[in-house]
Symmetry: C2
Subunit: 432 residues, 2 copies
């Protein structure tokens, strides 16, 4: 297979395009009807990849209800949800930066999102407001051929595991794909440039680095030149983009799109795994993932200080559970801790001796170099006791703290429930 | 008990003094007889603590045969040994910087050492030559009362585990004790000064630091002002001297002279021990100890790089064996090694992928930050395999390499043979 065949396979066919068109017509009619019935100053707008004609097969349908700026944020949130529920009665409310309705319409996953009408240069209120401007800009600057190039690039990003601006992926949004094609004209030239790129990505190439701190990727948003559309791109995602581009150019389509996954054996690693499980609060991934990442970081830091070394980790959010999988170098650390006392020159050196001469010790006190030392027994001997004490020692933060009573520390090895996650961890490859 | 009672107990009584006197008279007569019989230009001289009257009970008898400088080094070595053997026929040759004879005479351990006659300011040939000058200087500068103060100080140093300039102790020689008393007049003032001393020791106090690099202790040799008599003193020994002085001043005689040893339990440490045993070549401790220390250092360094951490160590020389005892944090390290590849920007990144895509791995290759990584299986999994490979990987150096075939790696825990050494390790205290 080559990239053109693959894009064709993944692009919506005529039937799907008609169905999306129908769905938007019906939903916008319903919304307009409700809007006029209630005398509201608002308008349904098709946004996202469908509106821009850069969508892949089976994409979401994104409809914004753009309200006049005369309404308060609270008003548009409340009215917006009411209107959206009329259009998609089976929809459910979700809470990101603002609430919205997500549901199924004619078999299409549909999001209906309230926002403000906004014109270029106007002060933005919420990040969703900007979507209207993005839709307009892309439609004015992309030819039909180029829209197909965007789809190629999106599929390439997906294959490289870097498609999506969500916190877990920290990759490239659809809008960045569009801006890359607008800037470089074709998929091939994007790939060629990325395969040769050293250091940061800069679009346009003369973009002022100073203004965007130490962002890994700088893609200036043409609808708001002070904004870096690629601020969320991680160093890892950019690195994957580069190595994927090199592989594609040198080794062809399959090297990226059909890269063989490997599942090496667990029992050769000589390590131990623990899984922290916390019940999932009713929040989106973009809220929960950074909280889980902070908990992980805290565990890693304390482990290092105590003598456990973490080898790798994986955070997953299931519908009901936050899972933090951590691989440790060992299950038990020596109980002996070498406790550093004052230098002998120090006024407190005799005090130190007095203190430890009357306490239980494992060795010492003794002199090493110009200091006193004593070896004492560590409180923390095994990994489970250690993790329990770590987890008790700090706030889980945000919404996780409220779920503390659900916290479990599990040895996932051999448990069917966590088999898939373990496999995902072990088969970590270039693009997954 | 107080220090004065203790010194009295440990000082030679009249009978012992007479016996030493008799022994020297007889030995020097024999030597003189042989010297004149063979028409040699040489003279037996009593040196060391007996000659200076600063000896403790049961000390060695040190007799030098001082040769005219007209003889070559080889000549005095050869002739010196022949003469000494006539005086103490049961004596054995020992090889330090130069060979000498050590044996038993009238129940006294006696060393007979050939050297050159040397006068102050003359270029020294061997470090033993200087001993003549030291003996003369001390006798001219110490009163009888002060000689007793030297004995106090020597006993104090012994109690603090820092008496001796040998490599294992790296402490204070008898000559330094004498110089300290000459400089500070009394034991009490030495202890008072040391308990307040911060940083390096300097005798005399105006001694030029620059001339002696970063020596921990600088005690200028009055018979050779360019020489630091305390060059061999380690930071640890000086630190022990300081803390012992503080303890003596604050807590009295028993705090230093009868400091309680503690023998904590082994099984609470959660660690593992290994003992490297090598047959002892026929060399003095001062030659073998640094060689064993180098082997230990090499093992410690490689352990750290591989993931084993060393907690402590102890080197002992028995009559037949060199023993290097090492405590490790664990017996097994994870077999997984995180192997760092090139940055993705690097021209070799695809090469790295190609290489590892076709080799056995434990995980990866994957991207982290701006680099490629792969997790591979370590060759070294358990401590014994690790130690075998380390010991095979470098030369033991010096005379030890010739004994390589005798090298054994032993787990000493529970072995009666090493019980005493283990106990010594575990009961490491302030002054032992």
């Amino acid at each position: 297979m080559n990239i053109d065949e693959f894009v064709k396979e993944r692009s919506p066919e005529r039937d799907e395009i008609s169905l999306y068109s129908l769905a938007f017509d019906q939903l916008s009619s319903k919304l307009r009807e409700e809007i006029s019935k209630n005398d509201i100053d608002a308008e349904p707008v098709l946004v996202g990849s469908v509106a821009k004609g850069t969508n892949l097969k089976g994409s979401d349908l994104d409809i914004f209800i753009a309200f006049s700026r005369k309404y308060s944020e609270k008003e548009i949130e409340k009215t917006g949800l009411l209107l959206a529920r009329k259009a998609v009665p089976s929809g459910k409310a979700r809470y990101a930066e603002h609430p919205y309705i997500t549901g199924n319409y004619l078999g299409i996953k549909t999001d209906i999102v309230p926002c403000y009408m906004i014109k270029p240069g106007e002060i933005k209120v919420s990040s969703v407001d900007r979507t209207l401007l993005h839709t307009k800009y892309v439609n004015e600057n992309l030819s039909d051929t180029e829209k197909n190039e965007v789809r190629k690039l999106k599929l390439f990003m997906k294959a490289a595991g870097i498609y999506g601006a969500d916190v877990m992926t920290s990759g490239f949004s659809g809008y960045i794909c569009e801006l890359l094609i607008i800037n470089k004209k074709s998929f091939d030239s994007v790939i060629k440039d990325l395969s040769n790129l050293k250091g940061r990505l800069r679009i346009p190439e003369h973009a002022d680095l100073a203004e965007f701190g130490n962002s890994t990727a700088i893609v200036i948003d043409p609808t708001d030149p002070k904004r870096n559309a690629a601020a969320a791109v991680s160093l890892e995602s950019l690195s994957k983009f580069k190595i994927a581009s090199k592989l594609y150019l040198n080794n062809g389509f399959n090297a990226v799109f059909n890269r063989k996954g490997r599942s090496p054996e667990l029992n050769k690693r000589g390590t131990v795994f623990r899984l922290i499980s916390i019940r999932r609060p009713d929040r989106t991934e973009d809220v929960l993932y950074p909280q889980a990442a902070r908990v992980l970081k805290k565990i890693e830091k304390t482990s290092f200080e105590t003598g456990f070394r973490t080898i790798g980790s994986l955070v997953q959010l299931t519908e009901k559970e936050i899972r933090i999988l951590i691989e440790f170098n060992r299950e038990v650390i020596p109980s002996v801790i070498i406790h550093e006392g004052p230098p002998v020159d120090n006024g407190k050196s005799l005090e130190f001796l007095e203190k430890w001469d009357s306490r239980p010790i494992l060795r010492g006190p003794y002199v090493m170099g110009d200091r006193l030392y004593v070896e004492i027994e560590s409180d923390v001997i095994n990994l489970d006791r250690f993790l329990i004490s770590v987890m008790e020692g700090f706030s889980l933060g945000g919404t996780l703290e409220s779920e503390r009573q659900s916290l479990k520390i599990i040895n996932p090895t051999g448990l069917g429930e966590y088999k898939k996650m373990m496999k995902e961890y072990l088969s970590k490859g270039l693009f997954n």
